[in-house]
Symmetry: C2
Subunit: 429 residues, 2 copies
């Protein structure tokens, strides 16, 4: 390293974890544009939820360091090159995916305030404000917490011990890649930004995938990495849209329609491979049974909770019932995947339907088994919209372990959406 | 990397494997000083011998590249800092180990010509000239051949495939180090210069040993790495001394005395931990049985061929027979060791005698199992004195697989030194 670089690095007061507003998931930006257009005056609260309560985040992470990292994120704004890329790049085959009015707003955006408080051995971290601004906190907040927890463990390790830790982690990723290479017709993307080990590690994993499986790697959800590594930015929409739309519903009839309203707005904006249904927010089966026919014309369905093979069967049967040929459709699996499950699902469903995979935490943060007491193993941390215009949000999903919201509201949603008994599946990441 | 560094690197016509005359084993310099003082006008021939004839070196390594590397070594001379270190450093607790007349000669040294010819799928590589000059070719010549063979394999690999290869190799070394860490009272040095994977890799291994086992790591045989990493330079003497002294003997009576003459010269120069007997050149048992009593006063014995536990038993019993307490003595194991054998020998002999280990090729070049067809596995390549003043040299050792010399001379040496039947042990490295 040359002297100037070293001196320049000394000037950083901290080593920032998130250094760009586009170090975030692509679907966040797509959803943000949709929200900016359709619901920009909605006031929301997002909140950190550590589902892995055995991980005492407030013991592991220094509050001062956490504040420094979050403050640094608040100082970020879109750079000229980032803006040029968002305006000029082709996404999903489309030019000018991001409209000029949205881009102008985004170029002037700074992320809003955060509220941080220690509660026992956990942090309460919340973000309040207008939906399009607050929603952009989700991914960087999660990435900061995951990486600070990792740094706390790494701080106590020697230089060569660290090298060997990364050597082992690299070997682990590469062995997975070697298995993926064997799967004919595989189509897989990196979805691992939010719970990654670190930015540099995610960037390494993406490059290893590019070299290791070539065309089978379809891209990354991370916009900054997609830009730098010149791969596709991947992603469509997430649970926050139906959750907030539903919280805004004024009665049960409106509530029952809210998830379809979301997709109607989306339908107006997007086509082709961006028309992907995420059906599980309030139970996949009821959602599809009650869906309007135009939704059956959409390109695909993303399976993000419950037993994935069961979800895919439901989707395939639904298409058949609606007179669609599943072979023209796409199923995207994205829930806590690892290689064995990817291979199994691919073998089972390819041929019946187009299959792709959004591979997340177990690509970008599989440090299980590498240090004592699993101190670097990933865990289930989320940051969710918990209220909209003062009304609490609810998520049911196809796995009761992932449900959230006040109990009385959960009961109401179950009634409105006709959700009965569900199988619980342990949430790892 | 800064631009200037990058441009500077472009100026190299080749990427030199050996960049310093002290990128060699410490015992070579000790022996060189001894030879410079006692036998400087001896004319010798050193020759490369590939004991692993299934490795077709001349197919794997481009002759032009090999010549470039050897020519580069001929351009090297001792740098001011290297000379200062050799003159000023403490070796084995002694200041001014290298005398001014030797240092002056060494500062002016350039290595002599080499003779390279392709013979089928092997190279014939020989060095002729005065002993103190020619002997310094051994280590760099071996290191160049080993590394060029490795580079030929690595050339075809992708960037991340390479990263993962080294990740796996690092993990392999570290797992060995973790096992060594468990051995109480261990004393182990790096002896892996000659058949290392590469210079950078040896340097990494030494640093990993420093961090990983701390005080149990006693140093490295490599002078350049010892200087840069500020650890002890380790080594005493080798087979070439008795081999050349014996070749110079004018009759059988002189021949029988030659190995003791070597140690008498050494006795005049060195004391303490540098008085280590290497007894196996013409059979350990006979050498010790016929040894003069003053040799029993030496500090230790190095076991470099044959079944190591058997060699150590012979040494211990010999000391007892000569009225010495083995607990005041040292046995150094240095023949093709790996961790399991180190642990076993340590457990068996510590307490009876001081035990240390010179760990070579399986520290600095254990790339077994990391690429297909074992294309990077280490193999048995040596560079030996084959004649002195026109007389062929002979080595018997305690393993007939390691014997060398013309058959009729081997027979004569066996008769003179009373060597009977020997157990053959497969030579891996």
């Amino acid at each position: 390293m040359d002297i100037a670089t070293r001196v320049y690095n000394h000037k950083w007061k901290i080593d920032p974890i998130v250094r760009s507003l586009i170090d975030t998931d692509f679907y966040k930006l797509l959803m943000c544009q949709s929200v900016f257009r359709n619901k920009s005056d909605t006031q929301v609260t997002f909140s950190l939820i550590n589902r892995s309560t055995h991980i005492p985040l407030a013991h592991l992470i220094d509050e001062g360091e956490l504040r420094e990292q979050l403050d640094h994120i608040r100082s970020l704004s879109l750079s000229r090159g980032e803006s040029t890329w968002l305006r000029g790049n082709t996404f999903y085959g489309k030019r000018q995916m991001f409209r000029p009015d949205f881009m102008e707003w985004f170029e002037n955006l700074r992320l809003p305030h955060y509220h941080l408080e220690r509660r026992g051995d956990q942090y309460e971290l919340t973000f309040e404000g207008s939906w399009p601004e607050v929603m952009l906190w989700e991914i960087p907040a999660l990435a900061v917490l995951m990486e600070l927890r990792g740094r706390a463990v790494l701080n106590d390790m020697g230089r060569f011990e660290l090298q060997v830790l990364y050597a082992r982690a690299m070997t682990k990723v590469w062995e997975k890649i070697e298995k993926l290479r064997e799967i004919d017709g595989l189509s897989i993307a990196d979805f691992g930004t939010r719970r990654r080990h670190s930015f540099l590690w995610q960037d390494w994993c993406v490059q290893a995938m590019m070299e290791g499986i070539g065309g089978k790697f379809t891209g990354t959800s991370n916009c900054l990495i997609a830009m730098r590594r010149e791969v596709e930015a991947i992603g469509t929409n997430a649970h926050e849209l139906p959750m907030v739309y539903s919280a805004l519903a004024r009665n049960d009839a409106d509530l029952a329609q809210a998830p379809y309203d979301v997709l109607r707005d989306w339908h107006d904006e997007h086509e082709g491979n961006l028309r992907i249904i995420l059906p599980d927010t309030y139970g996949t089966r009821g959602f599809l049974d009650n869906a309007p026919d135009w939704l059956a014309g959409w390109t695909g369905i993303r399976i993000d909770s419950g037993e994935p093979a069961k979800g895919a069967e439901i989707a395939i049967n639904w298409w058949r019932d609606r007179g669609e040929d599943p072979r023209d459709k796409r199923v995207i699996f994205s829930d806590g995947l690892d290689v064995a499950q990817i291979a199994e699902l691919h073998a089972r469903f390819s041929g019946q339907v187009n299959v792709s995979f959004g591979w997340g935490t177990l690509l970008t943060n599989d440090f299980r088994g590498l240090v004592p007491q699993e101190a670097l193993a990933p865990f289930s941390l989320v940051c969710k919209a918990v209220s909209a215009n003062g009304h609490p949000t609810v998520k049911l999903s196809d796995n009761p372990e992932k449900a959230m919201g006040p109990p009385e509201e959960v009961r109401r949603y179950k009634r409105v959406f006709g959700v009965g008994a569900q199988d619980a599946i342990k949430v790892v990441v």
